[in-house]
């Protein structure tokens, strides 16, 4: 049985992080700032729609592409919000969260040896999923550039084998985002080199200081972009597992082929609830966003006061402060903070090697929790000065 697991799977996922996660999960009464999901429960009207659909007996498969009314709702949402025209019949696919969509996309477009550009620190799945699809991830270190890519930085990593860029903004884990002008420059470069933009915009609705720009709304970008979004973050629906992808019909058709064999369709209850979210969820999203916004500002002030330098995040619900002033590694800092003060954060190295010297703090936690965690962190840091 020894070598039963495929080699490329054996080589995935750095084991150190897993051990740290297990340590957190095994400990009681931890204040966790390590959670990558909202601290709100799904708004009631959305949950109620899910319950009602069950009562009505909606318990069957749906079309592989997803419920038509949900695709139509998404199409209208994108039209209203960004002026984007996506045809619900051919250009939208409902997936099990953005995660499934990304996997499908990479499997649908990658030939062995194709390269995928991934700005890091990044969400954990991009690299491994690209590798599983037979691609070669090319990591672009953004730490010296305020955690953002620029055309100059991109250019250095492009060659003949470069097939796609996975862009994620607002970014998990850093909270940075891009303004329209910055995106336009990136878009022009991608178009010039014929590189597909895989744009993960699942935190798009949680952008605080300026309006979020959808990548496909840029000039000429729509035919060259796969746009990913989902209900998890904005509507606090992580456990429902509903995401969607919009793009050129050839790619969506290719992705649907894989999806129909591997997933068939997303749970109908979840799709029904998601359809309701588009109808009546806007007010709840705005309320949650305002709450995150206040916590974001408070956390930035407090962390900088503690000597953990960070700039004001522009989106999502993460801050990525530097812990270099402590002289500890990301893993040591996180482990000691957990053991000594029972506060959990995620070491920056979970998001790529270049995350060394940083930690990810999630402010998707009540203000009382955040303040208690900050006071424990202060004790932790004072002891080391």
């Amino acid at each position: 049985m020894k070598n039963i697991v495929a080699k490329k799977v054996q080589e995935m996922q750095p084991s150190g992080i897993r051990a740290f996660f297990d340590l957190v999960l095994g400990m009681k009464e931890v204040i966790s700032l390590g959670v990558g999901e909202p601290d709100f429960v799904t708004p009631w009207q959305i949950r109620e729609a899910g319950i009602y659909s069950l009562e009505q007996g909606f318990t069957s498969y749906t079309s592989n592409k997803g419920l038509y009314k949900l695709r139509l709702g998404i199409s209208r949402y994108l039209k209203n919000k960004f002026g984007l025209e996506y045809c619900p019949d051919e250009e939208i696919l409902i997936t099990v969260g953005v995660s499934e969509g990304l996997d499908l996309a990479l499997r649908a477009i990658i030939n062995p040896g194709d390269k995928v550009l991934i700005p890091v620190p990044s969400y954990v799945s991009y690299g491994p999923v690209a590798e599983l699809a037979g691609g070669i991830p090319v990591y672009i270190d953004t730490t010296k550039n305020g955690f953002k890519i620029t055309p100059e930085l991109l250019k250095k990593h492009i060659d003949k084998k470069t097939k796609a860029l996975i862009l994620n903004y607002p970014t998990n884990p850093t909270g940075v985002s891009y303004r329209r002008k910055e995106l336009e420059e990136i878009n022009r470069l991608l178009l010039r080199h014929g590189i597909l933009c895989i744009s993960d915009e699942v935190y798009g609705d949680l952008t605080y200081d300026f309006n979020h720009t959808a990548f496909p709304s840029l000039a000429g970008a729509k035919r060259n972009t796969l746009y990913f979004n989902g209900f998890s973050k904005a509507y606090a629906m992580t456990g429902w597992r509903v995401g969607f992808v919009c793009g050129p019909k050839e790619i969506i058709a290719a992705m649907t082929k894989i999806h129909q064999y591997t997933i068939m369709c997303v749970s109908i209850t979840s799709q029904m609830a998601a359809a309701e979210a588009l109808v009546s969820g806007k007010r709840s999203v705005e309320e949650m966003k305002r709450e995150y916004d206040r916590r974001r500002r408070l956390m930035t002030v407090e962390l900088n006061a503690l000597g953990l330098k960070c700039s004001l995040p522009q989106g999502a619900f993460y801050i990525f402060p530097s812990i270099k002033s402590t002289g500890l590694s990301s893993m040591d800092f996180s482990r000691k903070l957990l053991e000594e003060k029972k506060v959990a954060v995620v070491p920056g190295t979970a998001f790529g090697v270049c995350g060394e010297g940083y930690i990810r703090i999630s402010y998707a936690s009540s203000l009382d929790n955040l303040k208690e965690a900050l006071s424990r962190m202060k004790e932790f840091l004072d002891k080391r000065r």
């Binding site: 996660f21 957190v24 390590g34 601290d39 002030v301």
Partner: protein, 161 residues
């Protein structure tokens, strides 16, 4: 609504310092704004929302919602008679509403007897009060946006990407 008011409406105990951090303004600015709101009467008072069902030594308290039909007065409309009603200390809330009756009056008392006495001896006998209908409150589920139930525990896993 001003963000300061929005924060205070949710948490009356939010400190000036915290509000300053949350809004990225100077504490002096926040302090001044709050003073001004208090002066203008925009902020009337600060109080806790208490679930009296959970207070063991609480003397039992009865609440009733009373629909009151009144005859409006010339020139004064409902104002004068409303004032006569809401000035009673037993009245905790009083609203003028549209529909089949005119005022909705919330009355609190130690027991059924005190509340019904108030209705029979004070409220109903007022000149211009044409009739009342008293509804005793049996259970409170939600008040001022707060669900009166034990807080549910956190259901999220402690760490995730």
């Amino acid at each position: 609504m001003d963000e300061i008011l929005e924060i205070l409406e949710k948490d009356g105990r939010a400190s000036v310092e915290d509000i300053a951090k949350m809004t990225h303004k100077k504490p002096e600015v926040i302090k001044k704004a709050i003073k001004q709101y208090e002066k203008e009467g925009a902020i009337l008072k600060y109080k806790a929302v208490i679930n009296k069902d959970l207070i063991k030594d609480n003397e039992s308290e009865v609440r009733a919602l009373i629909e009151v039909n009144i005859v409006p007065q010339k020139d004064l409309g409902f104002e004068k008679i409303a004032e006569r009603i809401y000035s009673f200390p037993e009245v905790s809330s009083c609203y003028l509403i549209s529909g089949t009756y005119d005022l909705l009056v919330v009355v609190e008392g130690k027991n059924l007897h005190t509340v019904s006495n108030f209705v029979a001896e004070k409220l109903s006998c007022l000149e211009n009060v044409r009739g009342t209908a008293t509804h005793f409150l049996l259970k409170k589920y939600k008040e001022d946006g707060v669900i009166l139930k034990h807080k549910s525990e956190n259901k999220r896993i402690a760490i995730s990407y």
